[in-house]
């Protein structure tokens, strides 16, 4: 029984977009030239490969379904009406692939690859005497990055953060792209009162410092449990377990604060395009305004969208961690690097120091942000080097 959340749709859309562009680069055109330039940069290609791995993990974590409940004999349990009974929890493919890491919990902290717990306990020795010693783990050597305070596998927790990071980094921009294109293009093309209104709206919105607008929005809407996607009221009433992750809200709100830059860029580009000969020519032929926008303007501002998309990605991933840390990020039951850092914030001041929680979160975050930065720069240089100054 599949369950699709609104944030899953973002990941699917991202995959579809990647496929679309990888097909698109084979055709003639600006994309093809840009791709050829990109291909010559080894560092950008390596970064792309790493980003693809992250995207793959996010996809695995976004395909989820509920299992049928089975009884002791392995037969599916049927309800009184004869329909199959499903478990309330929808596990993703990632959860299933790493079932070992997810379920093999220890008692408390253990170091990476350790065979013993990190804290001393009273252990009964073979001869019956009791001594203070480090007890053996239930799964010695099985936790590649150790376990956290409640004994959960750190490697798995960091993996669960991948989807959150990717959804925030990509979903935010995806949600706002249509609005930014629409308003930017009509403001630039029609000018006059339309331009004034659009400019006024985005100047006003961008005058409110982003983090404060996010604070205000999260304080007001963060509590609502809407998940979007294909979960019906019936499912919820039947007890389907969906944590209030606030992820969709966070994307929307971050989007509202970040669409102004893209809108301003597109407006400026449209102002330039409007005066070009081929646009003038189609206007002289009597082509309607909307058609000109659709056929000539929008395709020619798409490179700005692509550049903004990759350049904003890394900043948004970093912002997620900070927001979760302040307490206005994704919900606490949601796996995210910000939440990992938040729960582990005091572990460096305890004795002996527990470092693997923080290090795992920071390392996973660094390993996606660095390639995203490098790849973003390369894409921008390939598509529009003039933008480097912004």
């Amino acid at each position: 029984m599949p369950i699709i959340l609104s944030t899953d749709l973002i990941v699917y859309f991202l995959i579809a977009m990647t496929v679309y562009f990888s097909v698109g680069v084979r055709r003639e055109g600006t994309l093809r030239t840009a791709w050829h330039e990109l291909k010559r940069k080894r560092l950008a290609m390596v970064s792309m490969a790493i980003l693809a791995v992250y995207l793959g993990v996010a996809l695995l974590d976004s395909i989820r379904y509920r299992d049928a409940v089975v009884d002791g004999n392995g037969a599916a349990v049927r309800s009184a009406q004869g329909s199959t009974v499903y478990s309330p929890q929808a596990l993703s493919l990632l959860d299933r692939a790493f079932a070992g890491s997810r379920l093999d919990t220890e008692k408390t902290y253990s170091a990476p690859f350790a065979a013993h717990l990190y804290t001393k306990e009273s252990v009964e020795l073979a001869d019956g005497t009791v001594a203070r010693d480090y007890p053996e783990l239930k799964h010695p050597g099985g936790h590649w990055l150790g376990t956290d305070k409640v004994g959960n596998d750190v490697f798995f927790a960091a993996l669960k953060g991948v989807r959150t990071g990717v959804v925030i980094g990509a979903g935010t921009t995806i949600i706002i792209i249509p609005f930014a294109i629409f308003f930017g293009v009509i403001a630039g093309y029609y000018g006059g009162a339309v331009d004034d209104i659009v400019q006024y709206v985005y100047t006003t919105l961008s005058s409110i410092p982003g983090v404060l607008l996010i604070v205000a929005f999260m304080l007001l809407f963060g509590g609502s449990g809407y998940q979007g996607g294909f979960i019906s009221e019936k499912d919820l009433a039947a007890g389907v377990f969906v944590p209030n992750d606030r992820l969709f809200w966070l994307c929307l709100i971050l989007g509202i604060t970040s669409w102004t830059d893209l809108c301003r860029l597109i407006r400026g580009e449209t102002l330039k395009l409007r005066e070009l000969e081929y646009v003038q020519a189609s206007r002289a032929f009597g082509v309607s305004g909307l058609r000109i926008l659709y056929r000539h303007i929008v395709p020619n501002v798409m490179h700005l969208v692509l550049i903004t998309f990759v350049l904003q990605f890394s900043g948004l991933v970093l912002a997620e961690a900070v927001l979760s840390y302040i307490g206005i990020g994704v919900g606490p039951e949601m796996g995210s690097w910000g939440n990992m850092i938040n729960t582990a914030r005091l572990e460096l001041s305890r004795e002996p120091v527990v470092w693997w929680n923080l290090l795992a979160a920071f390392a996973f975050m660094f390993a996606i942000v660095l390639p995203a930065n490098i790849f973003g720069d390369a894409v921008r240089d390939a598509l529009d080097p003039r933008l480097r100054m912004r």
Partner: protein
């Protein structure tokens, strides 16, 4: 010049009003006073009478935007919007929802702590960024330049939280150079300020160096630089006497806009280092769900940002006379 400044300030007025309306819409209409009362009094076991009481005590009992019971101008003035949000226009912040403290005086006393940490961080940061950026531009195309850029990208890819937590651990706990967090007034605050300033500079310097390096490279590619070199000027003279002056325009956009915002401090640094500034004031208000404070701080932040934009435009006309004639 004066008319330009006046015109620029007049342009800002509709934006300030827009921000005011937007915050009022968010805090009074989307999130009604009833919701606020319920959040503050506790979600469960709250009687309608208690909500009414709370609203009356805190001045939220009026209608949000239009009061149908009154006549004439009072239809608009006897509303929450007019009583609570319009006074923000002349910086009357009112009282907080929870402890009934005077937000305005709190802001005035706390902003000095914010300034004590953000001003040195900012000036030191900008100075270092420009120095390193000029050095990279001087050695452009060499391995030094390449590795400088790589280091910049790596530094900007590391989360700010890492710098803070790592810095506190390494410099505060292990090497015991500075106290880990805390604040004191006057000259005694010095020892508490060093660590946050060092960490603040470290966490922002990567982005800055990269940006200013591009600025300088852009500038050194221009014709007048070629002329200066052809005259036989040394590369240093070209960079300092010619490129730096012209690079001031993009540098100013980047720098001046954030100057008013220094009063606001940093949300993250102040909570980590227990600095009693405006940033931690906001965070505390978020955690205790004090909407009056959050609303005031959102409005104040926007005001400072708009002030920054106006200052940027004015400083433009000072460094670039061409702008004045547009």
């Amino acid at each position: 010049m004066l008319t330009y400044i006046i015109r620029r300030i007049l342009y800002a007025i509709p934006i300030v009003i827009g921000v005011n309306l937007l915050t009022a819409l968010l805090f009074f209409y989307v999130n009604t006073p009833d919701d606020m009362a319920r959040k503050i009094l506790g979600e469960k076991n709250v009687t309608p009478a208690a909500i009414e009481n709370w609203k009356r005590d805190h001045g939220y009992s009026l209608p949000s935007f239009i009061n149908g019971k009154e006549r004439g101008a009072a239809r608009l003035t006897q509303t929450i919007f007019f009583q609570k949000s319009v006074p923000l226009l002349w910086l009357d912040f009112g009282r907080s929802d929870r402890n009934n403290i005077d937000i305005g005086s709190e802001i005035r006393s706390r902003m000095w702590a914010s300034l004590a940490i953000s001003l040195p961080t900012f000036t030191l940061g900008v100075f270092l960024e420009i120095v390193f950026a000029m050095a990279l531009a001087y050695f452009r195309g060499t391995y030094l330049d390449l590795w400088g850029v790589v280091l910049g990208v790596v530094m900007m890819s590391v989360s700010a939280l890492f710098y803070i937590i790592g810095g506190q651990y390494l410099l505060g706990k292990e090497l015991k150079l500075f106290p880990i967090s805390g604040y004191d007034h006057g000259i005694y605050s010095m020892k508490f300020l060093v660590l946050p300033v060092v960490i603040g500079v470290l966490s922002s310097v990567g982005v800055g160096i990269r940006f200013y390096r591009t600025v300088f490279l852009e500038e050194t590619g221009k014709d007048y630089i070629r002329t200066a070199r052809a005259k036989g000027l040394s590369e240093g003279a070209v960079l300092f006497k010619h490129a730096l002056k012209n690079a001031m325009i993009p540098i100013l956009t980047n720098v001046v806009v954030s100057i008013p915002f220094l009063f606001y401090g940093s949300l993250l640094m102040e909570t980590f280092f227990a600095i009693p500034g405006l940033g931690s004031f906001t965070i505390d208000a978020i955690q205790s769900q004090d909407f009056a404070i959050v609303r005031s701080m959102v409005y104040l932040g926007s005001l400072l940002y708009i002030a920054g934009l106006i200052l940027t435009d004015i400083s433009y006309t000072l460094v670039d006379p061409r702008v004045r004639f547009e």
